[in-house]
Symmetry: C2
Amino acid sequence: MHVTWNQQLVKKENKSLVLSLIISHSPISRADIAQQSGLNKGTVSSLVSELLEEQLIYESGPGESSGGRRPVMLLFNQGAGYSIGLDLGVNYIFGVLTDLQGNIVVQKNEKYKNSSFEETLQLIQKVISFLISAAPSSPYGIVGIGIGAPGIVNKEGDILLAPNLGWKNISLKTEIENVYNVPVIVENEANAGAYGEKKFGSGKHFDHLVYVSAGIGIGAGIIMNGELYNGFNGYSGEVGHMTIDRNGIKCICGNKGCWELYASEQALLSKAQIVNINNKTELSLGELMERARNGEQAVITLLEEIGQNLAIGIINIIHTFNPQQIIIGNRLAAAKQWIEPQVQSTINNFTLPFHQTDIKINFSDLTLPASALGVAAFSSENFLKSRLQMNKE
Amino acid sequence: MHVTWNQQLVKKENKSLVLSLIISHSPISRADIAQQSGLNKGTVSSLVSELLEEQLIYESGPGESSGGRRPVMLLFNQGAGYSIGLDLGVNYIFGVLTDLQGNIVVQKNEKYKNSSFEETLQLIQKVISFLISAAPSSPYGIVGIGIGAPGIVNKEGDILLAPNLGWKNISLKTEIENVYNVPVIVENEANAGAYGEKKFGSGKHFDHLVYVSAGIGIGAGIIMNGELYNGFNGYSGEVGHMTIDRNGIKCICGNKGCWELYASEQALLSKAQIVNINNKTELSLGELMERARNGEQAVITLLEEIGQNLAIGIINIIHTFNPQQIIIGNRLAAAKQWIEPQVQSTINNFTLPFHQTDIKINFSDLTLPASALGVAAFSSENFLKSRLQMNKE
DNA sequence: AAAAAGTTAGTTCGATAGATAAACAAACTT
DNA sequence: AAGTTTGTTTATCTATCGAACTAACTTTTT
């Protein structure tokens, strides 16, 4: 007897509303839920009892009385299942196992270098398998795996191009899904980071933000109306190849004057070579920061220039999106000390005044693995969504 | 007996669904609606009869039989009310009176020059009053007024700044609402144009598009997931002040190298002055096009340069949004003949290949007053939405 | 200290709205 | 006359709501 449509939909919406109230207001009573949601007390009771049966929530002891019977407090069962989130870097794989709330239970970092696709895939599986084996036992087990990758990812989870990994047309999603038999999500690293910051970082209270991932290249994750915007094919946020100098230097992309030629880690390192700050052949961001910290003026100037160039692109983004917040993340965020003042002052000087009144410019807190957490959160949410879609059997 | 929530909501959703099916599939029978919506035949019958009572739809004669009883065809009553849409230009006011479907019933164009705010407001009211008086009698009368303005408009409908009109902090919405006592919507002209193109122009079949309004300045209207994106405050799409030349010429906005300094009508005219194509003091786009048509090479080169510069910013937009379509509108669209080949080839050469596969670059059909139609459509839709929210009395 | 009164939490139950399925009537075609 | 399709009617079902009710407290009164 399949009731195709809307009668059940209401129930699912309400159940979902109740659950999200429990998640966001943590210890909360049935009475409070009824009041805040506008639902009838009886309705809340019946939905709550279903959620209890499904082990998505649990009752804790009685709470504080406010002059009458003491309420039974309800809590989200964050340990009902666990998610895995992977940040696939150019020379590292960082994986986290999180509960459904996004708390990290275990994490694992593996470094690698110059490996083939097969070797990298092996390493990915090693990390995933480790995390799975480290998961506490739970009613729903591993509910999904999310992977953030540095490259162009389409909506089907295929990595079309990841220049820094040397990958082309890799169906990573299918590959991993076949091994572990749980839903897998592959997202661009900047999108993952954006979502991670929105859920767990400084973007928590904002619904219109752009996360600028300034690493070897530059990418952006766009969050509008609280949701990630992927573009038509999933390629949005390729801001690194935005022209900021129409007569500028050539880029491998075929264009010239691309933003990331002036404001990325790569740009910093190349420039350091050119002005011959060091005669060594290999230079690293870490070393440059160390020398800046020691007061070497030439290096400081270099970092400040990167900051100014970063600001140019950010100004473009602000004018285009009118966001509430910009978060600068990835490796260059580590150089916040030298970059931030330049970014802030350049924006103050060169942005239309109306756009300036409300906007916040923040740097990622790098102790927070935003990308890995972001994709893990995607997986958790997908699980909850599909779980709530299900009918009672 | 106020049932605060969800039971009625289902009905409203379904009623809205039925109405939109009737609107989009024009002569359609109850049976077809039931099949296409998945709703039960009885449900459809009852919702349809309410819509009939509200005069939002009407029955026409019987349709073609497909082997049984002939269906009663239902049609949207586009004449149930009328909307007014105004395109507020720098030296003209163009107004349309449309039915609820967006068909133009009457239109009116008024030119003006160097007038004060009060004079302009007078003129706006003159146009509106004329259109109101020209409206056929209908059950709901004038359901709303929409105004597209060239400037920065916030979400409350205040025009914060319209440099080309010399306006600052004008509460146009309140002003007009007080006079005519119907809902008024004020939108940025590019947003209005974007919506007009999406509903009635070449964007009809796309859900991810950016409308580039290339006039005296450059603005953009952004449509994502089928909906207009306004930004946090409503100032999104100020792409004219996107930096495309970090070492470029100074802009009145305080920044340098802004896109509109290289690719707008203003840019074209200034450049024409500088290269001294004419010794006259006043030069117009129309005259330049005339001379290009007559084969004057210097003018043609100039137009082509504008095309190339236009493409630079468009490439930035494509990389940022990954849209499905770009529509170039406003005055420069008239120079399509010279601009389009340059835009297309520049994009082909300088955009990442993945972004190119699907994207369509179109020019506005200037016989379609996209801005005025866009804001009129906003008004119509708001009316229908609020009308469907209402309960039976 | 005990009893009574007042509050708040959560459950139960009858009423209700609106959707569905299925039967039915109407109006056709074959 | 038989079969089809359209649209209406009716019985049934589901999920919400309002209100009564029980439970478990706190506060006030005696």
